[in-house]
Symmetry: C2
C-alpha cells in the first residue's frame, strides 16, 4: 500500500497564521473524570472589544473547521464563514469583537492528541483523555475570562459549533445575550452515530494507526482518515445535490493521484476530499472530536431538554435546512419546542435548500439566514407599519401589557404594530418561508411551524391573546386548532371572511355559481387557496357546540368601511367577523 501524501504535507496541521494563544496551567479537570496537566487555547479575533466588554461574539467551529472564520485583511485567506462575518456583514466586525477559538482535541494549536504530553514527553496519541463538548466549552470559558468577557453579546455555532453554543447556555445560563444555533441538534441520530462508528473503525483498523502512536512513524493512518472523511462528505450533502454535482460527468472522473478507486465522478471527488483532508487534519483529533460529538446528548425528550435550558437568560435563533439529513429540521424543532414551552424568546426558520448539511457554509444559504442573525444583533428596525382596518380593530382589542401569539402572522405586520405600541412578549407562527424570513429580519420573534399540527410546542395559558387573523379559511384541522388556541391563550381573537355575506349569497342564488367577491373570496372555485368557507352563523354554531364563550363580536363591512351591529344581521350584512373567544369557565 502506498502513501497518498508525504509526511511533510501532514506537518502543515498546527496553529494558523493569525492565531494567538493562551495557556492555562493545570491540572484541568475533564468531565469524564480524567484531567489534563494544562491546556493551551489558540484563537483568532476580529474587531475591538468595547469599554464595557459588551460587544463580544463567540463563534464555535464544526468538526473540520478552525479558528479562521473570516479574513483579517484583504491579503488574508478567506475564512469558512466569510459571508457571515466581517466589516458591515451580519456579524459586523466594525461594531462587534469576534472571537473564534480552536476546539480542545483539535490539531490547530489548542491542546489535542498531537500535542506533547508533559508526563511522557511524547504526543498524547490515543492516551489523550476522552473529552466532551462540555470540556471544549470549559476551555472557551477560561478564554473568555482571560479576555475580560463576562457576558457575550452572542454565541454562534453551526453543527458541532451549535452543540458548543447550546452547552454554553446549558452550563452558564447567564453567559450570553443571544444564542445562535445553525444546522445542529440536541444529540446525534443513531444513523449519524453509525456513520461515525464506521469512520472511527476505518481509522483505528488502519495498520499505520499503530495504536495511536504514529507521530514518529514514517507513515500515518491516512487511508483510514481519508475513508472517514469520504463518508463524512456524503452525509454533508443531500442526494439531490449529489445528482446535480456528479451526474453530468458520472463516468468521467477527475484524474488525481490516489490509491482510491476513481471509476465514477463521485469516486474521484471523494478520493480527492479524503486525501486533501489528511494533509490538514490529525487522525487522533478526528477520533477525539467525533467521539465528543457522539457523546453529546441534551436529552431524548422535551422534558429533559427543558431542564437543560430552564435557567437560560438569552434570546435564541435557530436555523435548519430542509435537505439536511445529518442534523435534521425535526431535531432543530425539538430544541425550539423545548424553548417555546419554557417561554424563552426563540426565532426559528427552516430554510428550503437542496444543499444538505453543508448549506450552513454555502453563500446562497448564508444569504438567506444572515439577515436573521443581523436583526437579532441590531436594534429593532422600525419599518413603518400600515394596518388594514380589520388589523387596526384587532390591535385595539389587545392591551399594551398583553402577551400575544399571532398564528399565521404573515410578514409580521400586526406584530410590528404591537411592538411599536409597547407589547413585549409577542410571538408569531408562520409557514410560508418568505414571510418567516421577512418577519424575522424585522427583528420579530417568529417560529416556522405548520398550524395543522396543532400547537404542541406551547403550554397551557402561555399567552394573554392568541390571534388567528385572516387564516381560518386555510386551516385543514379547524376543530383541533380551536381547541389548541383556547388551551394556549387566555383569550382568542379570530377574524375571518363571512361566506354568507349578502353579495355572495346573491351570486350563488341568482347565478347558481360558486360565490365570488373582492378580498378573500376573489379567487375562482378551481384555484382558490382557501379550503374552508364558513359563515358567521357557522362559526357561532361551532362555538356553541364546543362550549366556547364569545366575549366580544365585531362585524365589519369592507365596502362601506363601517361596523355592523350584532343586531343588524351581520351574517347577511358583514363581510368580515372579529370574535373574541374564551373557554367556558
Amino acid at each position: 500500500m502506498m502513501d497518498i501524501v508525504s509526511t511533510d504535507d501532514i506537518r502543515s496541521a498546527g496553529p494558523l497564521p493569525h492565531a494567538q494563544s493562551v495557556t492555562f496551567d493545570g491540572p484541568i479537570p475533564l468531565e469524564l473524570g480524567a484531567e489534563l496537566p494544562g491546556v493551551t487555547c489558540a484563537y483568532e479575533t476580529w474587531g475591538t472589544l468595547n469599554a464595557d466588554s459588551s460587544n463580544a461574539v463567540l463563534v464555535c467551529h464544526a468538526i473540520s473547521g478552525d479558528s479562521h472564520v473570516a479574513r483579517h485583511d484583504q491579503n488574508d485567506d478567506p475564512g469558512w464563514w466569510e459571508y457571515l462575518i466581517g466589516p458591515g456583514k451580519a456579524i459586523d466586525t466594525d461594531r462587534l469583537f469576534v472571537v473564534c477559538p480552536n476546539v480542545l482535541g483539535g490539531c490547530r494549536g489548542t491542546t489535542g492528541p498531537g500535542e506533547i504530553d508533559p508526563k511522557s514527553g511524547r504526543p498524547y496519541g490515543a492516551e489523550f483523555p476522552r473529552i466532551t463538548i462540555g470540556d471544549m466549552v470549559s476551555v472557551q470559558k477560561r478564554l473568555a475570562e482571560h479576555l475580560g468577557i463576562t457576558r457575550w453579546r452572542a454565541i454562534v455555532g453551526g453543527s458541532l459549533g451549535g452543540h458548543q453554543a447550546m452547552t454554553w447556555v446549558a452550563r452558564y445560563p447567564k453567559s450570553t445575550d443571544l444564542c445562535v444555533i445553525i444546522a445542529s441538534s440536541p444529540r446525534l441520530t443513531n444513523q449519524a452515530l453509525g456513520f461515525d462508528v464506521i469512520a472511527r473503525n476505518a481509522i483505528q483498523t488502519d495498520p499505520y494507526y499503530a495504536g495511536g502512536q504514529y507521530y514518529d512513524q514514517p507513515q500515518r493512518p491516512d487511508t483510514g482518515l481519508a475513508i472517514a472523511r469520504m463518508l463524512g462528505h456524503i452525509t454533508y450533502l443531500s442526494s439531490e445535490v449529489m445528482e446535480e454535482k456528479f451526474d453530468p460527468d458520472r463516468h468521467d472522473p477527475r484524474q488525481i493521484a490516489s490509491i482510491f478507486e476513481q471509476r465514477f465522478s463521485i469516486g474521484s471527488y471523494l478520493a480527492h476530499q479524503g486525501q486533501k483532508f489528511t494533509t490538514r487534519f490529525d487522525a487522533n483529533s478526528y477520533l477525539s472530536i467525533s467521539m465528543a460529538m457522539d457523546l453529546f446528548d441534551l436529552g431524548t425528550n422535551r422534558l429533559q431538554l427543558m431542564e437543560r435550558f430552564d435557567e437560560a437568560d438569552c434570546e435564541f435563533l435557530l436555523v435548519s435546512f430542509s435537505s439536511d439529513w445529518l442534523f435534521t429540521p425535526a431535531q432543530s424543532r425539538e430544541i425550539v419546542n423545548a424553548l417555546t414551552a419554557l417561554d424563552k424568546p426563540v426565532t426559528y426558520a427552516e430554510i428550503t435548500s437542496p444543499r444538505g448539511h453543508d448549506s450552513f457554509l454555502i453563500p446562497d444559504d448564508i444569504e438567506q439566514y444572515a439577515p436573521l442573525v443581523q436583526a437579532r444583533l441590531e436594534d429593532h428596525c422600525n419599518e413603518p407599519v400600515k394596518l388594514s382596518a380589520v388589523e387596526q380593530l384587532i390591535l385595539e382589542l389587545i392591551t399594551p401589557e398583553a402577551s400575544v401569539l399571532d398564528l399565521g402572522c404573515g410578514d409580521g405586520n400586526l406584530l410590528s404594530a404591537l411592538r411599536s405600541r409597547g407589547n413585549e412578549k409577542i410571538v408569531g407562527v408562520e409557514v410560508a418561508q418568505a414571510n418567516i424570513l421577512h418577519a424575522a429580519a424585522r427583528g420579530l420573534r417568529v417560529i416556522d411551524y405548520d398550524l395543522n399540527h396543532g400547537l404542541p410546542a406551547f403550554i397551557d395559558g402561555q399567552f394573554d391573546f392568541v390571534v388567528l387573523s385572516a387564516t381560518l379559511q386555510a386551516v385543514a384541522n379547524v376543530e383541533q386548532l380551536f381547541h389548541e388556541m383556547l388551551r394556549v391563550g387566555r383569550k382568542v381573537i379570530v377574524s375571518f371572511p363571512n361566506f354568507a355575506y349578502r353579495a355572495l349569497r346573491e351570486d350563488y342564488v341568482a347565478r347558481g355559481r360558486s360565490p365570488k367577491a373582492p378580498g378573500e373570496f376573489s379567487h375562482e372555485w378551481y384555484n382558490t387557496p382557501n379550503r374552508r368557507f364558513p359563515s358567521i352563523a357557522d362559526v357561532h354554531d361551532l362555538c356553541r357546540e364546543k362550549g366556547i364563550v364569545m366575549q366580544r363580536e365585531i362585524y365589519f363591512d369592507s365596502e362601506t368601511q363601517a361596523q355592523i351591529s350584532p343586531d343588524d344581521d351581520p351574517n347577511l350584512n358583514a363581510d368580515t367577523a372579529i370574535l373574541v373567544l374564551a373557554r367556558n369557565g
Copy 2:
C-alpha cells in the same frame, strides 16, 4: 491487528446444501469484452415444471442473497423470501416451478472470483474479469435453456434482483409473461455510488487484501469487508427505524468479540453484522457484484428508459417503500412512467413503511405486497361488483372496445365492472394506499399516483376515455388536470356533485350557513375533505373559457333516482352531473 474470524469459518462460503449446478463450456463472452473459459451455475428449484413448461418463475437475488429463497422441507433452513414463496403462498410452489440461481461473480457455487481459473490453476481473485448485470442474466438465460424453459411465467427480483429482472426484459423482451420489480431502480443514485466506492476502498486498502490474491494467505481482508458491510447496513435501514431499534439501549451495546468499536448499541450491531458477513462472503465477490450494480444504468431520462423496454412483451408489477432512501420510490416511478408512456401494462404501489430498503425482505411489508404478486400470477378474481347509479350511467357511456383511464379509481369498482364487461385496456390511478392495494389485489392495473402532479407519465391520446368520477372536489390543481385529461383521453367523463343543487342553495340562503346535503356534501364546513365546490354552471363556465366541447350532459337527482333533462334547470334540480368532454377540434 487481530483477525475477527478464523479462516475455517470463511470456508463455509460455497455451494448451498440444496443447490444443483450445471456447467456451460466456454469461452463465454462477457459484455465488457473479456471472456470466461466456462461458467458453472448453481441454483435451487421448488415445485414441478409442467408439461408445456409454462409455470416456471425465476427469482433473482440481491447483493448478499443466494439461491436459498425458501425452505425445501420442514427440516430445512428458512429462505430469505420465505414469506413470499412456498406451498400456498403468493408465489405458490404447489402450482409453480420456482428457480433461483446464484449470481455470476458470487461465492455460492456459481463462477466467481474465488473459483479456480483453469489458466492459472489458482483462484481468479482480482483477475476475475469485470462483469455486468447483463452477464449475470446471460448465465441465467443459459440455465433456462438447460431447464427447457423458453418463456418464464414470471421473473421476480428485489434490489439487485430487480436490476436482473429488468435486464432480462430489456435483453429478451419475449422471455416472460410478468416482470416483478421490488425496491429497485433504473440506476444507482450518485449517493449510493458514493457509499459503494467507499466500501470498495475499505476492502481494497485492507493490507490483507494483497491485491486480491489472499485465498492462500492465513488472513483475509475481513476488516475491509466488515466495514463495507457495516456501511451497507446503514443504507438498508431508515433513520426512523434505526431510532426505534437502537435508541432504547443506545449506551448499552451488546458484548461481542470484535476489534470494532462498540461504545454505542448501533456500534455493536454494525460490528456484529460486519463480522458475521465475513464468515459467509468473499471480499472479491463483494467487489465484483457491487461494481456490476454500479455500472447498471438503464438511462438518465424517460426516453432512454423507453428505448430499453420498447419491445417488452409482459406485464409489470413494481413495488417501492416510502422510507427506502437507497432505491427511492422516485426511482421506481421513473420506470413506471417510462412503461406507462410505452402503453405497457404496469401496476405500481408505494408501500408506506418505516423500514427502509430492507422492507422488501421483512414479513410485515411482504404481507402488504404479496397479494399484488399473487393477483398477477393467478386468474383474475371475480369479486362481485355493485355499481352506484352514477357509476352505472358512466359504464353505459363507454363502449366495450374502448380503453379507459380511471383517475381516482378508488378500490377499482368501476374498473372491475369494465373488465367484466369486456374492456381490456383499463388502467386506474389512485393515491390512497388501501385503495391501491385493494384494486391491485383484485388483479386490476393501478398506478400509485397523485393527480395533483398532472399526468406526465401518460402520452397524448393514450386512452379512448379518461374518467374522473366523484374526484373533482378533491383536486387542488383543477385547470392543469382538465388540460391533462383532454390531452391523454380522446374523451373525458367527469362526474361531480352540484354545489348549486336546490337543497344546498336553500340551506345557504334560508339559514345563512355553509351548505350541507347527503352524499359528497354531508361533511361540516370545518372537516370536509373536499376543497372544490363547483356548481354545474361553474363547470360549464370553465369549459367555455377553456374551449372544451361538451359532447354529452347527463344530470341526475339522487333523491328521486331520476335523470334531469338539460332543459329542466339541472343546476337547480340535479345533485350530480356527468359530462362527456372533448377538445375543441
